[in-house]
Amino acid sequence: MGFLSYLISGISLGSIYAIIALGYTMVYGIAKMLNFAHGDVIMVGAYMSFMATAYIGWSPLASVVLAMAVCTLLGIIIERLAYKPLRNATSLAVLITAIGVSYFLQNIALLIWSSNPKSFTSIISLDSLRLFDGQLIISSVTLVTIAACIVIVYGLTMIVRYSKIGKAMRAVSEDKEAAQLMGIDVNQTISVTFAIGSGLAAVAGVLLCSAYPLLMPTVGAMPGIKAFTAAVFGGIGSIPGAMLGGILLGVIEILGKAYISTELSDAIVFSVLIIVLLVRPTGLLGKKISEKV
């Protein structure tokens, strides 16, 4: 029963990584940039939900909607102010800017909310699920997290596959210049991508702080890096890859903590990444890039 219980919490943690990784992977796929500020958008989302429930007394669901709205807007603003002027700049300049935005968000949060951790009350207050005569207890947060991940991945896959904007995203991702010649507004497509990724980051933030209820300005940094790792692990640019990478990463982390060493769990996670990348440089589900001229 111990193993099963670890496995489930691994999948749950991995689901959070997966939701964050989706934001990394979509932005990378379409704008060809790594948005290292993505982890900090998670933090902003968590604070929004916290403020709405703790100070204004909103219902948990309403607080999630607020967090998503604020983060979506934040994502669009960050893209417009920080990244759009660098559309034709070197990728190093964009990367440095992204790191700058990350520190900027953390420090703004520090000014507003101070460094004292806030204790986040889980927004999910359903009963735990008891299986096998109470030998296996699965908390409602765990269940909701896994369900949210499945719904999000399914919804996003449908959007990218069938909707007009989703098809435009695929076109821009494959050939930006040809997409413009079709009449696709590339800037708008990139903006929508940031909006979706940041909205999902808000959901991830609320779920993360419901499972690990200490809220502070750096809360998004480590999960952000892990989710980035997950996106690379699964094959950056691929939506199913982000989900697979995220869940595997979560499972490896929790099982590593349980059976090998709590201190070494992060080292184990990153070692697995290095090994996978040595064997498959494009990640588990990454496409081999081949061009036909």
Partner: protein, 233 residues
């Protein structure tokens, strides 16, 4: 219909297009011929708005389109079928066509797709296939069909014969003539000067970023200098 007036285009510090002017009248097929690197594709990219001229003006249907973003230029009725086809290889044939009609309304798209399938029946057979699995000739047809999806009044074709077998080249040029007869004005960029001049009404000869000669296509075919430089004697 299209009036390019004294444009200068730079790639960084390289002066790629030097004071080029030309015109395309409604109903014409006009061709720009020239060697590799003469600046033909650069001119089309500039007209499409992907590149911006340092000086000079470009008017399409009476409006200045310099500094208008590429996607807005498409909606004014100017489409380009780019060099190397540039179809979306990971998308299906039909999705590629839908992208070509991105600026159009949903109910117009079905009819436009049907028109393209009528002209290129091969594409209909392969509608659900990934575009990357098509042969070179089919990819060229898809690229042209995709450009037609926006119902352009002026279609710019960049090297449509590139990499195709001679029989397909003939077929593609037949289609170009048919499209023109059906009312689409065409600006054609080609290295295959022989073929291009045989379908065009007028031609411009481009050398290292400058237009050195312009005349009716038939005259260019008989011009000694053109024959030597571009028609293999």
């Amino acid at each position: 219909m299209l009036k390019v007036d004294d444009i200068n285009v730079y790639y960084g510090s390289i002066h790629a297009i030097k004071g080029v002017s030309f015109e395309v009248e409604q109903g014409e097929i006009v061709t720009l011929i020239g060697a590799n690197g003469a600046g033909k594709s650069t001119i089309l990219k500039t007209v499409s708005g992907l590149l911006h001229p340092q000086t000079g003006s470009i008017h399409f249907a009476g409006q200045n389109i310099v500094n208008v973003p590429p996607h807005k230029i498409v909606s004014q009725g100017l489409a380009q079928c780019p060099e190397g086809r540039r179809i979306f290889l990971q998308m299906t044939v039909e999705e590629n066509l839908e992208m070509g009609a991105y600026i159009r309304l949903r109910h117009e798209i079905r009819g436009a797709i049907a028109d393209v399938y009528e002209r290129f029946p091969r594409l209909k057979e392969r509608r659900r296939q990934q575009a990357g699995t098509l042969s070179g000739g089919e990819q060229q047809m898809l690229a042209m069909g995709r450009a037609l999806m926006s119902k352009p009044t002026l279609l710019m074709l960049d090297e449509p014969s590139m990499g195709l077998a001679p029989i397909l080249v003939t077929q593609i040029f037949e289609i170009i003539k048919e499209l023109n007869q059906a009312g689409t004005t065409i600006l054609l960029v080609e290295q295959n000067a022989q073929m291009a001049l045989s379908v065009a009404h007028r031609g411009y000869v481009l050398e290292t970023g400058r237009i050195i000669l312009t005349a009716p296509a038939a005259d260019l075919l008989n011009n000694d200098k053109v024959r030597k430089a571009y028609l293999g004697g």
